[in-house]
Amino acid sequence: MTRGIVTITTAVAAIALTSPAFAQTLLLSGEVGLASGVEGGDPGTGSTTFRRARTRFEAGGDLRSDEDRVDAFALRAFAEIEPHVSVGGELRYVRYIGQHFTGFAGFTGTLAPHTLFGGVVGVQGFIPLGKTLSLLIEPSFSALPFGSDLPTDQPLLWGLLCVGIRGDFLAASAANEEGPK
């Protein structure tokens, strides 16, 4: 009997004294920009040649937790708009290095009219323009060894510079309105 009372009392005390867990808050940032640069590869001539890369419009965002503000995952969609058209996207792991600088690595490629797949690495710099907006400067390098858009088995290389606007638009609660914060 005594053992039971002690057990129940201990369990109730443990539950009652536990501090309530706070909901994790997700930090969402969005970006839009224009990018171009150089595109290189061996189209079958036996030598690597370079030319101006297609101009592209990019839009995307990254998501991270307020409990771990260093690591984030990002999605980026892009449309090459001249001189030829294609659409594609990127999936990135982003590592924040301070408030105004990140490094990232991930997968990139085009989906239509032909496919291209490969990897991308780069850095981002943010120059604050206000409370939530920043000027985005993003040099990146991609190597794309797979896809139907390649005339040979040699990889296509992109060295791009994206300039755009970034906004820290939303701090959404992961608990999703689960009572007062």
Binding site: G37, R52, H84, P151, G159, L161
Partner: protein, 96 residues
């Protein structure tokens, strides 16, 4: 910090523009550079079924240059041969 970032951005932009200015033009590097129905072969857009050296894929291995001798050049060769024959006939006559 702002000045440094702006300077870095300008430097990268200048490097990219300088690179782009020196690039080779009129070449395909991706299939999507070519019109529909063309393929990118040896850096050039050619109709599907034609290789970069002008030979038809799947055909015989005869180099295109052998078939591509202009008629004018052929007639010149014939004329030269005829002149040689004429000179050969005229030389004995002169000796006589």
């Amino acid at each position: 910090m702002k000045v440094l970032a702006t300077a870095l951005a300008l430097l990268v932009t200048l490097v990219v523009l300088q690179q782009a200015a020196c690039l080779e033009a009129n070449q395909c590097m991706r299939l999507s550079d070519c019109p529909t129905g063309d393929v990118c072969t040896a850096g050039l857009c050619v109709p599907a079924g034609i290789t970069g050296d002008g030979a038809a894929e799947g055909g015989d291995a005869t180099p295109p240059t052998q078939d591509a001798v202009p008629p004018a050049e052929s007639s010149l060769l014939d004329e030269a041969a005829a002149l040689d024959d004429g000179a050969g006939d005229a030389a004995p006559a002169a000796a006589d």
